[in-house]
C-alpha cells in the first residue's frame, strides 16, 4: 500500500495585529513494499501531431516522432490499456482501430508497426485530439489515465473556445504532459492544457531529443500508484485562502481549482502519485486577528486519497509581542517565495524584451540571474545565459544578448516555473 504524509513548515508566531499566515506543506507518498490488493487499471495514451508541418525538413521530425513513440510503446507495462492517436485537423486512431488495447508483446509489436505507417499531412486542431483522448479515457473509468501530447505547431485550425471546451471536458479524466517540438508552437496554449490536466509542459528543441523524453514520460506514468489525491484545506470562519500553490517540483497555482466541500473546506486535486514521491505546496491564509497570547488554527491540511481523508497536519497562528519569535524567517516559506519571484521576473523580463523595453527586460532578467544564482537554480542560470550575458551573477548585472535562438528563449519561458527543492540539510 502507498501511504501519504503531510508535514507543515511555518513560523506560527505572528506580531500583534498580523493576519497573514504562510506555510509550506510537504506531501510525501511512500510504498511499504506490501502489495495491497490489485494495482488500479492504468491507461496510457500517446497523441502525436501528424500535421503537414511534421513532414517539413525532409521528414526528420516525423521520423523522430515515430521512433520516439515506438520507444515509448516499449516501456508500457503488460496489462496497461493503451492507444496511439494521430492528430491533424481532426484526430484518428493509429492503434488500435478503436478503443484501447491491452499491452502485451504482440499488441506492442502491432502498435509499433502501425506507427511506422503513419503519414503526416493536414492541419492542427488540438481540441479535437484531446476530445479523442477523453473518449478513450472514459472507457476505463477509475483508471489512472495519462496522456502524452506532442505538437509542433499552433492550434490553427479551430477556434480558441473549442480548445477551451475540450480541456474542460478532459479535466479530471486524465493527466496530460504537453510537449512542443521545435519553436513554432504556442507556450500559452500548451501550458493551459498541462495546467488544467495536472501535467507538465516543456519544449523539445530538436527532433533527436524526442525519444529520451517520450521514454522518460511513459516510464514515469507507469510508476503511478494512486490515481486520485486531493489536498483538503480547512480554514477558520472569516478567513481568506489567498493562494494554494504547488511550489516543487514546479510552480503551479492551484487556487482556482478549489472544489468546495463545505463552507470552511475546499479540495485541491493533486492528480496521480507514484509510490515514492514528494511535492511541496505553499499555502497563504488570512485569518481574523487574535490578541497577543492567543492561538488560532489557521488551516488544517488533510489528504484525500481515493476519496478517504487522512490525518491532518495543522497550520497555526500564535500572536506574540516577542519579536525574537515573530521575526523568525521560515526557511521553506522564504525559499519558495524566492522561487515564485524568480518565475515572475523571468516572465516579466521576457515580456518586456518582446515589447522592446530593453531597460525593464535587463532589470528583470538581472534579478532573475541573481535569485537563481543564490538559490541554486543551476539549470535556470544556464537558460538565462542564453538570453543575457552575465557580468555579475551575485549582483544581478546582465546585458541583453542581441542574437537569441527562439528555442532558447522558449525554453527559458516554459521552464521558468521549475523550482529547486529547499535545502533541508
Amino acid at each position: 500500500m502507498t501511504s501519504f504524509t503531510a508535514e507543515v513548515f511555518q513560523n506560527e508566531f505572528l506580531p500583534a495585529g498580523a493576519d497573514t499566515v504562510d506555510a509550506v506543506v510537504t506531501v510525501r507518498s511512500a510504498g511499504d513494499g506490501v502489495v495491497g490488493g490489485p494495482r488500479p487499471d492504468s491507461v496510457e495514451m500517446i497523441v502525436i501531431d501528424t500535421s503537414g508541418s511534421m513532414q517539413e525538413d525532409g521528414g526528420r521530425k516525423m521520423q523522430a516522432a515515430k521512433a520516439a513513440t515506438q520507444a515509448a510503446i516499449d516501456t508500457i507495462d503488460d496489462g496497461v490499456y493503451f492507444a496511439i492517436v494521430g492528430g491533424n485537423a481532426g484526430a484518428y486512431m493509429i492503434y488500435p482501430r478503436d478503443g484501447l488495447a491491452i499491452a502485451n508483446p504482440q499488441t506492442r509489436d502491432e502498435a509499433k508497426k502501425m506507427v511506422a505507417r503513419t503519414r503526416a499531412n493536414g492541419g492542427t486542431a488540438i481540441g479535437s485530439w484531446l476530445k479523442a483522448a477523453a473518449y478513450l479515457a472514459e472507457l476505463r473509468p477509475g483508471a489512472i489515465a495519462h496522456c502524452l501530447l506532442l505538437t509542433d505547431g499552433k492550434n490553427q485550425h479551430e477556434e480558441d473556445w473549442v480548445l477551451d471546451n475540450a480541456i474542460a471536458a478532459c479535466t479530471g479524466l486524465f493527466q496530460c504532459d504537453a510537449r512542443g517540438l521545435g519553436s513554432d508552437w504556442d507556450i500559452e496554449e500548451m501550458r493551459k492544457i498541462a495546467t488544467a490536466l495536472l501535467g507538465t509542459v516543456d519544449i523539445i528543441p530538436r527532433p533527436e531529443d524526442m525519444e529520451a523524453e517520450f521514454t522518460r514520460l511513459t516510464e514515469a506514468a507507469m510508476g503511478k500508484q494512486v490515481g486520485s489525491v486531493a489536498l483538503r484545506l480547512w480554514t477558520p470562519k472569516g478567513s481568506i485562502s489567498e493562494f494554494v500553490k504547488q511550489v516543487a517540483p514546479n510552480l503551479e497555482d492551484l487556487t482556482v481549482t478549489a472544489q468546495p466541500v463545505n463552507p470552511l473546506t475546499n479540495d485541491y486535486p493533486l492528480g496521480s502519485w507514484a509510490g515514492e514521491e514528494e511535492r511541496d505546496y505553499h499555502v497563504r491564509v488570512r485569518i481574523p486577528v487574535g490578541n497577543v497570547g492567543d492561538e488560532r488554527l489557521a488551516a488544517r491540511v488533510m489528504l484525500v486519497i481515493d476519496g478517504i481523508d487522512q490525518p491532518a497536519a495543522l497550520v497555526r497562528a500564535i500572536w506574540t509581542d516577542d519579536e525574537g519569535l515573530s521575526t523568525r524567517i521560515n526557511r521553506e516559506v522564504a525559499h519558495y517565495t524566492g522561487q515564485a519571484e524568480l518565475a515572475d521576473v523571468i516572465a516579466d523580463g521576457l515580456a518586456a524584451r518582446d515589447a522592446g523595453d530593453a531597460a525593464t527586460a535587463t532589470v528583470k532578467l538581472g534579478r532573475a540571474v541573481q535569485i537563481a544564482h543564490q538559490a541554486g537554480n543551476g539549470d535556470t542560470v544556464r537558460l538565462l545565459q542564453k538570453v543575457v550575458d552575465v557580468d555579475d551573477p551575485g549582483g544581478g548585472t546582465v546585458r541583453l544578448r542581441r542574437e537569441v535562438d527562439r528555442a532558447d528563449e522558449m525554453a527559458l519561458d516554459v521552464r521558468s516555473t521549475r523550482t529547486v527543492r529547499v535545502n533541508r540539510d
Binding site: W234, T235, P236, V292, G293, D294, L297
Partner: protein, 405 residues
C-alpha cells in the same frame, strides 16, 4: 496535592439527546440512536442507529460539542482543543492551575501576553517530625503547635528556550517530592534529624539545618530539568534556538515552631522569589541570580553552569503570609512593602486561602499580565477568618536572614 476541578466524584452519564430521551432506544453497546446524524468528519448523513460513519469510518457522536470560549459556537474538537469554526485554541489545563492544601495554596496562570504557561508549582504538607516526649506543645503553642510542615516550590520555565514548560513542571514536582519525603523521614537527612529530634526545635541547631535536604531536592530538580531536553514528547511550540530547556526554582520549607514563631528555610536558583509579610515586617527572603543587565546567571537545565542553590533561613513571628512567586507577580510588587500593602488590601476585602492567591494573580493580570504568573501562599492563620483587624503584637520579634549570597 489536589487540583481543584479535578472531578473524581460520581458523574451520571450525559445523554444530550434533546427533547424526548425516553423515546430513544439505547443500542446494545450503549451507543444511542437518534433520528438524523451528520458525520462530524466528512459531513455525510448517517442512517439512524449507526455508530460509525459509513462514508469515512469516523465515530459518530451524539454528544453536543463544547462551546468555544471565543466565538461561542458549539464546535470545539475536544481532542485537539481547537474550535472547528473559528479555529480558536481553547484554554488548556495548565493555563490556570489552582492548588489547595490547607495552610498552603497556589495559583498559576498563563497571564495575558504569553501563549503558554511555562511556570510550574508544587506544594504539599507533612506531619511535623517532632519528638512527642519533648512535650513542647504545653508551652501555649496555640493552634500552630499542630500545624504541619509545608513545602512550596515554584519554577519559572525560561521562555526563550524550547521545552522549558516541561523542564519547570518536572523540576517543581521533583523538588517538592524530595523535600516531602525527606521531611517525613528524619533518618533521611542528618541535619534535619539533628534539628528536629535531637535538638530543641525552638532553637534549631545550626544556621541551616535543612541544607543537605535542599541540596538533594535541587539536585533532583536539576536532573529532571536536564532530562526535559531529551523528551521528544514534551509539548512545545517554540522553534528550538539551541538553548536547553531551563527553569528557575525557589523552594521554601515552613516549620511552625512552639511559641508561635515560624522557621522559613529557603533555597533558590534564579530570579523567582519568596517574601514574608508579617504583622510588622515585610521581608524578601531570596536574592535574584541576575547579571547587571538583568539576564539570568543561574538556572536549572542541561546547559546550567551552576545549579547549586542559594540558601537562607529566617525565623519570623506570626501571623503572616509567605508568598513564593515568579516574576510574573513580583514585577508589579517588587518591594516587600508594596506586596505587604497589596496583601493587606486583599485581606481586608475578605480574601483568604486560595482566594487570596487568585486575587494576587488577578492583580498581576490587571497590571498587564506580561508574563506567566505563579503564586504559592502559606498563611499562618488560614483557618481564622481574616479581616478582623491587625492581630496582637507578637513578642518574639525574631527575624533573621542568613546565608544570603
Amino acid at each position: 496535592m489536589v487540583m481543584n476541578g479535578d472531578d473524581t466524584g460520581r458523574s451520571t452519564a450525559a445523554t444530550g439527546l434533546g427533547d424526548e430521551p425516553a423515546a430513544v432506544p439505547a443500542t446494545v453497546d450503549g451507543a444511542v440512536a437518534v433520528d438524523a446524524l451528520v458525520c462530524a468528519s466528512c459531513g455525510e448523513e448517517a442512517p439512524p442507529g449507526t455508530t460509525w460513519c459509513e462514508a469515512c469510518g469516523h465515530e459518530l457522536s451524539t454528544e453536543p460539542k463544547p462551546a468555544c470560549v471565543s466565538c461561542g459556537e458549539r464546535e470545539v474538537d475536544p481532542d485537539e482543543g481547537y474550535c472547528l469554526s473559528c479555529g480558536y485554541r481553547q484554554p488548556r489545563e495548565r493555563d490556570h492551575v489552582r492548588l489547595d492544601e490547607g495552610p498552603v495554596v497556589a495559583v498559576s496562570d498563563r497571564g495575558r501576553r504569553h501563549h503558554d504557561n511555562e511556570d510550574a508549582v508544587a506544594i504539599g504538607t507533612v506531619a511535623p517530625v517532632i519528638d512527642v516526649r519533648d512535650g513542647h506543645r504545653d508551652g501555649g503553642a496555640g493552634p500552630s503547635g499542630e500545624s504541619p510542615v509545608a513545602v512550596l516550590v515554584v519554577c519559572d520555565g525560561v521562555s526563550s528556550t524550547a521545552g522549558s514548560a516541561e523542564a519547570s513542571s518536572r523540576a517543581a514536582q521533583a523538588a517538592c517530592d524530595a523535600l516531602l519525603v525527606g521531611l517525613s523521614d528524619p533518618g533521611a537527612v542528618e541535619g534535619a534529624e539533628a534539628a528536629t529530634v535531637g535538638g530543641d526545635p525552638a532553637t534549631p541547631a545550626g544556621p541551616m539545618a535543612l541544607a543537605p535536604l535542599f541540596e538533594r531536592a535541587v539536585e533532583a530538580a536539576q536532573g529532571e530539568a536536564a532530562g526535559a531536553a531529551d523528551d521528544p514528547t514534551a509539548p512545545d511550540t517554540k522553534p528550538d534556538d539551541g538553548g536547553s530547556p531551563s527553569s528557575t526554582l525557589v523552594s521554601v520549607v515552613v516549620r511552625p515552631l512552639p511559641g508561635g514563631t515560624v522557621e522559613l528555610s529557603t533555597a533558590w536558583v534564579g530570579d523567582s522569589r519568596a517574601y514574608w509579610v508579617g504583622p510588622d515586617e515585610a521581608l524578601r527572603l531570596t536574592g535574584d541570580d541576575h547579571e547587571l543587565q538583568g539576564g539570568l546567571i543561574r538556572w536549572l537545565g542541561a546547559d546550567s553552569v551552576d545549579p547549586t542553590p542559594d540558601l537562607a533561613r529566617a525565623v519570623v513571628g506570626g501571623p503572616g503570609h509567605l508568598v513564593v512567586c515568579t516574576d510574573g507577580l513580583w514585577r508589579y510588587v517588587a518591594e516587600p512593602a508594596e506586596l505587604a500593602a497589596l496583601l493587606r488590601r486583599l485581606v481586608e476585602e475578605g480574601r483568604s486561602g486560595v482566594g487570596l492567591a487568585e486575587a494576587l494573580v488577578s492583580h498581576a493580570n490587571q497590571q498587564g499580565g506580561h508574563d506567566n504568573i505563579t503564586v504559592a501562599l502559606w498563611s499562618s492563620d488560614h483557618e481564622v477568618a481574616t479581616g478582623d483587624g491587625p492581630p496582637p503584637p507578637d513578642t518574639s520579634e525574631t527575624s533573621e536572614r542568613e546565608a544570603t549570597p
